[in-house]
Amino acid sequence: MPSLAKFRFCLLRLAGLALALALTLPHPLRAQPTPPSEKTLRISQRNEPTDLDPARASLPDDFFIIRALSEGLVIPNPTNGAPLPAAAESWETSPDGLTWTFHLRANSAWSNGDPVTAADFVESLHRVLTPATAAPKVELLYAIRNARAFAVGKLADFSSVGLRAPDSRTLVVTLEHPTPDFLRYAASGPWIPVNPRVVSTLGRAWTRPGNFVGNGPFTLLSWEPGQRIVVRRNRLYHGAASVRLDTIQFIRLDDSDTEERTYRTGGIDLTMSVPFSKLDTYARDFPDQYHQAPLAETRYLAFNTRRPPLNDPRVRRALSLAVDRGKIVAFVVKGGRRAAYSVIPPGFAGGSDSAAPPIPASHDAAVFFARRLLAEAGFPAGAGFPHLELSGWTNTPVLEAIQAMWKRDLGIDVDVATREAAVHVAALRSGAYDIGFITLIPDVADPFSLLDHFVTGGPENYPAWSDATYDALVAAGEASADSARRTEAVRRAERLIAERCPLAPLYFNAQNWLMRTSVHGWRQDGLWTRYYTDLWVSDAPR
């Protein structure tokens, strides 16, 4: 027995010693991932980039890093105005609006020292359009003459595609038809060039650290999958004087809770989000670190118009009217999300809010109108209304809130189903759903890129809605070079959607994030574009 007691005592003492040791560990051993330096910014990166190849990337998360490494002819304007010069220092349009001539900078170079030439741009865009590249966002190049025909394989001869490089600093783009918003497309991701010599030599491995060659403010230093990506300033960048950071670390963090804990212990300077349960606390206690910015993302309910009773516009409109969006943004989603009564977010593409359809004076008035519509459709007070399913992919309580509103105000029962994201999207695409919650995310700030989805057979026309008037409106607006006529087409298309209700916009998304007061010059736009020049870290708070 005594030996056992001794053994036990020994073990206890050992445990105590270990704990004491852990608590008194010298500082270097418990160092942060990297010592925060004045010239290093550590940003949370929520999704591993699929690839750093601008032709193959499709997610904003990929472009967070690509835009630090490379830049296209122009970049989106952070204040939502006309795009700004980047690799091109100037450009002009022919009077008919069909020919755009870009003049590249004399001092721009690839990070390996090669000059950036107009021929590099032609070859890069050729690569995006080549079917074998399988570029997911190839349609952002379809404004170029014959680009679509070449991309779908109907045209084999690239010389008839509207891209020419008369000399090393001049790029001439000929369009299919006049496109006033063409520059916004030219500022999008797939237009970012690659160094064709590097890509042809290295193949798919060209995006790895050590291989990557770009023309942006930073170069790729390391990529530890699942952990972090580090970029270092590019001394050959034409605007090197405006680059004030030495390195940026994109630190991989899977979820908002881990992200927030890492931020609190000083592991990152900037998060991508704020855990929902902590929104109010940060807004109240740390207003100087808590940030909020609107996103050009519309969350909406798609009504499957193939299925009765949702094939009746009165039913769809009644359901849409009975959703109290004010309550949803005030109590359910919070974080600066705005109630949506239109497809296009307010201020999108620098436009005004006048395009939005009129909204009911109060929720009570809307409910009154909704009940009447429902009764007209043959379901007075919800009697005889079939049991529908309301499906979504996230576990936000939005769907439950809507379920309760429909029950209370219309007397109808729906089931709520949450599915894994890919399953949900696949169901929406194949039409195997009743009412689906989904997001509309634009690639460029062009209202028609959103409205286009809901023309007959449009790419994300989940409601499978078909309306000849709408189709004609969108087609005419898109083909028109006159901005007043385009705005009018957008306004009428929005009204039509509000009346026929193939979908019910719920709210416009917003980003909430935490940022240390030592970070200065952070800029981003509603389409997830970030700007890494004129950005710095210093001890002096903002």
Partner: protein, 324 residues
């Protein structure tokens, strides 16, 4: 014994084949594909992507092509010194990943498996040392306050899930005491919290199994004989009783190793560890067909091997068993 091992390895071939076939076809029948993103791609892009990845071939051809790529076609075990690259060592090709087109599944596994194994090994070591000690204390002082404390600690460990334990430990040791980092896998210090969290659940199970096993042995005749012959209590416990008392723990180690490896997903997410568990789960969400298959095959092989190892250890520990 060699015959036993050889026989068992032969038996595992049909097992692996069933797992590969099942996984291959099951994931093809799950709704959604690797290119089902929230933002739709045009039909022509869909076609281009399918052609690029040979998804437009008939399914049986995709299956046989894949099986052929899996067949070992080389034998250079020395290549394993540079990391677990199965292609260089055995010619087993898991193909490029769908989600990360510039990396192959072989590279991803070579990159991430060592991290998961490190995490799992430390956790298991902690679970064994801590769990067995706790179990022994509880059994020796049966129905005393020590027993009650050990048993309740074990019960708590079983009941508190890792996704609660992890953030609690971070809150205490990283956010308030500033001893550890909240996330990351950079220095040795970053190993502590994840291994504690992952190991604690298993430590709790092991403690309960040890206590139960030991109590059963302690009531047997040969223990009384040992005591009657004047052996010290420590000798009785550690020399005579523990050997038999640990048998349930050893049989638990097979599934526990599998659980620690595949179940590290939660820990890897909480602490942001670049291990294979995270890739395993995310690949299923991404419909990354090749990565799903690669990780499933690897885990299945690990489990088969671990079960074999456990069987061998059991025969060595338990004189009543023989290799058959």
């Amino acid at each position: 014994m060699l015959r036993f091992i050889g026989l068992r390895l032969l038996q595992s071939i049909p097992v692996m084949l069933v797992i590969i076939t099942g996984t291959f076809f099951m994931q093809r029948f799950v709704p959604g594909g690797p290119f089902t993103a929230e933002r739709a791609v045009t039909p022509e892009v869909q076609r281009n992507l399918a052609a690029y990845y040979h998804l437009d071939d008939p399914l049986w051809k995709q299956y046989t092509d894949y099986l052929w790529d899996l067949c070992p076609k080389a034998f250079h075990p020395s290549a394993l010194e540079n990391g677990p690259d199965l292609k260089a060592a055995f010619g087993i090709d898991f193909r490029p990943s769908f989600k990360y087109p510039n990396r192959t599944v072989n590279e991803i596994i070579a990159d991430k498996l060592p991290v998961s194994i490190e995490l799992g090994a430390y956790s298991l070591a902690f679970a064994l040392v801590f769990g067995v000690s706790l179990g022994v204390f509880a059994a020796v002082r049966r129905n005393s306050w020590i027993d009650y404390i050990c048993s309740s600690a074990a019960m708590t460990g079983i009941c508190v899930p890792t996704f609660v334990m992890g953030p609690l430990l971070v809150l205490a040791f990283a956010i308030h005491l500033h001893v550890f980092n909240a996330s990351g896998w950079y220095g040795p210090i970053d190993r502590v919290l994840p291994c504690l969290t992952l190991g604690s659940v298993y430590a709790a199970y092991i403690a309960r199994l040890t206590r139960g096993g030991l109590l059963e042995i302690l009531s047997q005749d040969f223990i009384r004989t040992a005591r009657a012959k004047g052996a010290s209590e420590a000798r009785v416990i550690f020399r005579h009783a523990l050997r038999g008392g640990l048998l349930p723990v050893v049989s638990f180690l097979g599934p526990a190793t599998a659980g620690i490896l595949t179940g590290s997903f939660v820990i890897e997410t909480i602490f942001q560890i670049p291990g294979l568990g995270r890739e395993f789960v995310n690949s299923a969400f991404n419909r990354d067909y090749t990565l799903v298959l690669g990780t499933v095959i690897l885990y299945a092989a690990l489990i088969v091997i671990m079960n074999l190892v456990v069987d061998i250890i059991q025969v060595c520990l338990n004189p009543k068993l023989k290799f058959e």
